[in-house]
């Protein structure tokens, strides 16, 4: 039975086997809501002058009203009332005239609308936004058949009366009598309606009418823009998916909705739906692109290539490198066959990205890509390639001026072509490079520059783009820089912002998670709370394996489990040498040297430290070089050559005080004081006093730095040394004070078993 009736249904959009989404070219049609908007426009153009401010508010309202989804009359009138109550009343009156009058009233309304073609001076001129809208509406209205006009009128009546039939509405008086007349039965009207509502399981879904094509396009554009630029302002993933499903139910041919669905499911890491939507989108796109175009550059062959490329990108995002590789090869092959150089370039840039993600060296590929992209005038790909090269170069120890030069060149390119996204990346990259070289001030300045810069992109929907990776990186650096200076309040502010801006499920959330964990770990280690640091290690390892191993070795060393720590460090060093991760190699060497200290193997630590120093200098890693020097000085001190130690230390003192973390500053000063003390022992009495005075001074500064970080173990040592010095110098009150401070801290720190940091 069902099938018999459905057979009456045919699809008028189908010609030659292809269903065209819009064979009549109608993107919009008249609905009761649209009539209300028309009435508003009519009132605005014809009625007596409205106050300037109100007019301005109304003008601002026009575009959202035209583009947005259909509102109920309640919502509509409320919005207008907020701007201008007088106009709202006039609009209501006009609608009342139509809805409670006869069909001819509506026909009269359309007849009296100012035609955009005649009115040259008015706002409704034919090419204006308002004029265009009115023309659309008039055209759509004139195309309606007899029964459709009647249906529209019925819908208008219903639209108008549903506004008044809501319980608790005060303004019933205006239309109450008539609304009763419309309904056939008299008495149990309300009861029945209530029941109907009760029975309706999903009132919201049923009540939402379909969007017209215009409205749908606007909705999609807005949501896509928000997804790209500020995800938090877009609809929640589930709500957005509901909307999209609804839209697709009414118009399955609306391909763009599938693409948005793909983006949306990427947000929640749903590979199943995202693959499905992506392929569906391209299946649809292939059709729309095929009309009147050949298989070549512009036709559906093109979308085929990009379909494969997008599939590769998708697999890349989910970390399926093998799949991504296959898809990419396919894209490359098709692009080669059809001589599409632009597509090939895109493929190439994905290829080196993929290689990089897989962890292999891709600088040759990248260089090729840059050259070719420059040849085909694709500035975006050129500078993206250069940036990638800079990143690789920085890791491999290219000289600083080369890198900076390259970045400067790309910056010129960016500004010339207004590639705001790449400018952001470039700034974030400079921040990272400065940070790597140990120039914290420069890094901070670059990060601030990025965060305070006004983007070149247009600000749509009141949202500026600030959820890219570049921003996340800069903010993470900022957080770490503040942590180094012991400004933990600021750190938590920055992290809070990061958490809001990049919610945990998003793509770049891992960056701040790692950063947060590292900071917490460092704090726990500095405080000597190794049991707190331990759980962080697992979390860090989940996000970054190398970093996790390194931290694990640190914890093990602190817990005196030397053998385990040593084996981990050996493994780590081998791995890092293979992947050319210089920073980590140096760090591993330093920790290994510290392990040697524990077993009093100061002499064995020396060559290791020298090697580390050479590496650090070769790669211009100033922060690490300074730290290595600290280690070196300490080793020399322990080997009984304090003069040498102090000499070496002076070399590092300046950069540490200028750029170093608070911790390093304290350590350096403490070490200096110890060297001075050791040297004082060999000198004559007068000189000795002066030298010891210097040492007291250094210790005072070191104590100030350590107390900033609340680093109790080191503080205890400092107080002990201070007390000893004051004792030697015969300054009893100061000695007593320091001794008391030492005693207090010592009582607090009665945790046996853990190693006290030597340096």
């Amino acid at each position: 039975m069902a099938s018999v009736h459905e057979s009456l249904y045919f699809n008028p959009m189908m010609t030659n086997g292809v269903v065209h989404a819009n064979v009549f070219g109608i993107k919009d049609w008249v609905t009761p809501y649209k009539i209300s908007v028309l009435a508003l426009l009519y009132e605005m153009t014809t009625s007596k002058p409205i106050a300037l401010q109100e007019r301005r508010r109304l003008n601002k309202l026009i575009l959202p009203l035209q583009q947005g989804p259909d509102l109920t009359l309640d919502q509509f009138l409320k919005t207008v009332e907020e701007c201008c109550p007088q106009t709202a009343y006039a609009v209501k009156l006009r609608l009342h005239e139509m809805a409670d009058g006869e069909l001819k009233d509506m026909e009269y309304f359309f007849a009296t609308l100012p035609t955009p073609f005649s009115a040259i001076d008015s706002e409704a001129y034919k090419t204006s936004v308002v004029g265009l809208f009115m023309r659309h509406m008039l055209l759509a209205y004139n195309k309606l058949s007899f029964s459709q006009v009647y249906k529209l009128y019925k819908a208008l009546q219903q639209y108008y009366h549903s506004h008044y039939s809501q319980p608790g509405d005060v303004q019933v008086g205006l239309a109450a009598d008539d609304s009763d007349m419309d309904l056939t039965s008299t008495e149990d009207n309300v009861g029945e309606r209530m029941e109907k509502e009760e029975l309706d399981t999903r009132p919201e879904v049923v009540d939402r009418g379909p969007l017209s094509q215009k409205q749908a396009e606007y909705f999609l554009a807005r949501q896509a823009y928000l997804l790209k630029n500020d995800e938090n302002k877009a609809l929640k993933p589930s709500a957005l998916q509901d909307e999209l499903n609804n839209m697709l139910k009414f118009n399955p041919d609306f391909a763009e909705a599938h693409y948005l669905s793909y983006l949306n499911s990427m947000r929640v890491q749903d590979i199943f739906i995202s693959t499905h939507s992506l392929l569906h989108y391209f299946d649809r796109l292939i059709l729309s692109g095929s009309e009147g175009k050949s298989n070549g550059d512009e036709g559906y062959g093109r979308s085929l290539r990009y379909a494969a490329l997008n599939l590769a990108a998708l697999h890349c995002r989910f970390g399926h490198y093998q799949q991504a590789d296959l898809a990419l090869q396919e894209a490359i092959r098709i692009a080669q066959e059809s001589n599409d150089h632009v597509c090939l370039q895109h493929c190439l840039s994905w290829l080196y990205t993929l290689e990089q993600m897989k962890g292999s060296d891709s600088s040759v590929l990248t260089e090729d890509s840059v050259k070719m992209a420059a040849h085909f005038c694709l500035p975006y790909l050129v500078s993206l390639g250069i940036q990638s090269l800079v990143q690789q170069g920085a890791v491999q120890g290219k000289t600083a001026h080369e890198l900076m030069d390259a970045l400067k060149d790309t910056d010129i390119l960016h500004w010339k072509h207004s590639l705001s996204e790449l400018i952001d990346i470039s700034l974030a990259q400079t921040t990272s490079i400065w940070r790597m070289y140990g120039k914290s001030t420069m890094a901070q300045q670059q990060a601030q520059l990025l965060l305070n810069m006004n983007s070149l992109e247009q600000v749509n929907f009141g949202v500026q783009q600030n959820n890219t990776e570049a921003f996340a990186v800069a903010l993470c650096h900022l957080a770490e820089l503040h942590a180094e200076q012991g400004l933990y309040g600021a750190v938590s502010e920055v992290l809070k912002h990061l958490k809001e801006q990049f919610p945990p499920h998003t793509q770049h959330a891992k960056l701040w998670m790692l950063c947060d964990l590292k900071i917490q770990f460092d704090r726990a280690m500095n405080d000597g709370k190794y049991h707190l640091a331990e759980p962080h290690v697992t979390a860090i390892a989940a996000l970054n394996k190398t970093e996790g191993l390194y931290r694990k070795a640190q914890v093990l060393k602190a817990l005196n489990r030397t053998t385990e720590a040593y084996s981990i460090l050996q493994r780590l060093q081998l791995y890092c040498e293979k992947t050319k991760y210089t920073e980590m190699i140096i760090r591993v060497m330093l920790v290994t040297a510290e392990l040697h200290w524990e077993s009093s193997g100061f002499a064995t630590a020396l060559p290791l430290l020298l090697q580390a120093l050479a590496l650090a200098r070769q790669h211009h890693l100033q922060a690490l070089a300074s730290e290595t020097i600290l280690h070196l000085a300490f080793t020399q001190l322990m080997l009984g050559v304090p003069e040498q130690a102090l000499g070496v230390l002076h070399e590092a003192m300046e950069p540490i005080l200028a750029h170093g973390a608070v911790m390093d500053k304290g350590r350096a000063l403490l070490l200096a004081a110890r060297c001075q003390m050791a040297m004082a022992g060999t000198r004559s009495n007068g000189q000795r006093h002066a030298a010891l005075g210097l040492a007291v001074q250094s210790l005072g500064e070191a104590a100030a730095y350590f107390s900033m970080l609340d680093c109790k173990e080191r503080l205890r040592d400092v107080h002990y040394l201070q007390a000893r010095l004051h004792h030697t110098l015969g300054q009893t009150p100061q000695r007593n004070k320091c001794a008391m401070l030492f005693r207090l801290l010592d009582q607090e720190l009665q945790a046996p078993g853990a190693a006290v940091p030597l340096l």
């Binding site: 699809n11 379909p210 396919e330």
Partner: protein
Amino acid sequence: DKCAVSIRPVIICFIPHTGNLISCLDSTFGDLVQIKKQLISVISLCKERGLVHSVKWASELAFALDPLPKNELPPSATFTEEDAQDMDALGLAKSYFDLKEYDRAAYFLRGCRSQKAYFLYMYSRYLSGEKKKDDETVDSLGPLEKGQVRNEALRELRVELSKKHSAGELDGFTLYLYGVVLRKLDLLKEAVDVFVEATHALPLHWGAWLELCNLITNIDMLKSLSLPDCWIRDFFIAHMYTELQMIKEALQKYQSLIESGFSKSTYIVSQIAVAYHNIRDIDQALALFNELREQDPFRIENMDTFSNLLYVRSMKPELSYLAHNLVGIDKYRVETCCVIGNYYSLRSQHEKAALYFQRALKLNPRCLGAWTLMGHEYMEMKNTSAAIQAYRHAIEVNKRDYRAWYGLGQTYEILKMPFYCLYYYRKAHQLRPNDSRMLVALGESYEKLSQHVEAKKCYWRAYTVGDVERMALLKLAKLHEQLNESDDAAQCYIIYIQDIFSCGEQLEHAEVSTALRYLGQYYFKNKLYEEASLCAQRCCDYNDAREEGKALLRQISQVRDHMEASNTTPVRRVSPLDLSSFSP
């Protein structure tokens, strides 16, 4: 079940002779006379209510049974007082109803009190809504509004029917209508419950069973339902098995139905034929369809399936005869259009074929097969984009249409995107895990992507699930050959040859000679000269391998001469090929 209990007395007082309808709950086929009686009474009941499709089904079945003697005929329905009162109004309304003037019919029935009148009243209102909906659809404003057109009467009907339902005042027919209304409102869960109730109240109404069938999606759901224990239930279960692709079980069911006395039923014959078609037992299906056409020459239903079979067998004259015959009967039927489409397709007139599939779709856009077939036509015409569109539409109508997924995969394969098409083939494979064609297609794609391990797995799996085209092993062997895994390749060739010879029929693309040639060389290399010479001799039976066979024989005899001098025993590594029992 509370409702079922409360409804039954209503039916009995309203149709006293349904006593025998209820008695049919003791499911036995022993008494065909009883069944016939039940069918005759249900036919008249449905007829009075305008349920034409159920009347047709029951009548077909009744026709298949032996006629009853005059005294055995069931008494015509007895009237209650209410029926007598409503008789005139009912008669008038029924005539309007038959003329498709539903609103008019409903108007004259509004005051009637009898159950029969009430059903017709509600049914007219429902149909009026449906008819208006269809008219609206043609007249709709734009593509987006299409989905919005609704049967406005549905919600009112639901409110009224649910009231009566909770009061327990609905009989079997109205329950059925209530279920239909619920289904149309997408309240599927409630609809299933109501249909089950309807089958309990009136087991013989086939329409309710059929609606239920459309709502059941898997076997677990089917098992969880409590259905009335009646002979008609077996028909339902058999139909359900066919729908759920459990062909073996379905065939068993139908066989037992035939054995219990329904051997003349065209309905069962057609269902069995469709089932055979689904498992691609083409000969059986063809035979049954021919039988069906003899019994019922003006039948149009299922003839599209018949034409598919003729198409697969490339039986041009038969297909042409069928097409012309059907056009003579009714040219504006979906089935007719599909048959003509197939006919043109077989004659390689793909434009015309596509045109006729389009026409079928205009007649019924939810006709799944036509979308897929149209996709195939566009593929033939190398219009890939239109093909993709057609397949996508088919998937939209039914996500589980494996042929459309497979077609999409093929399209992309033709566009030389083997990785891209993997997704589609995988989808198809998911839906038909035991279909070798998808597995072979998957294997081929993997092979193109140089994913040899996956490719081998696919081919082997395709062989184990019963390879229809007998290509999987050959491909697997060639792949092994390519990878220099000669032992595995030889093994595959051996199985392949045994397979080809044992199936008996001649296959066009069989490459026995290739296999023999390779095996000959292989045995020769492994110094198994006996087997090698056997293969070489067999090679000589084939034109394309004759020369090589002879050359190999010469080589063998040379080496043998040489060997007799040295006399060493070769190491046996692969079991020899036993060809003695087969003849090419």
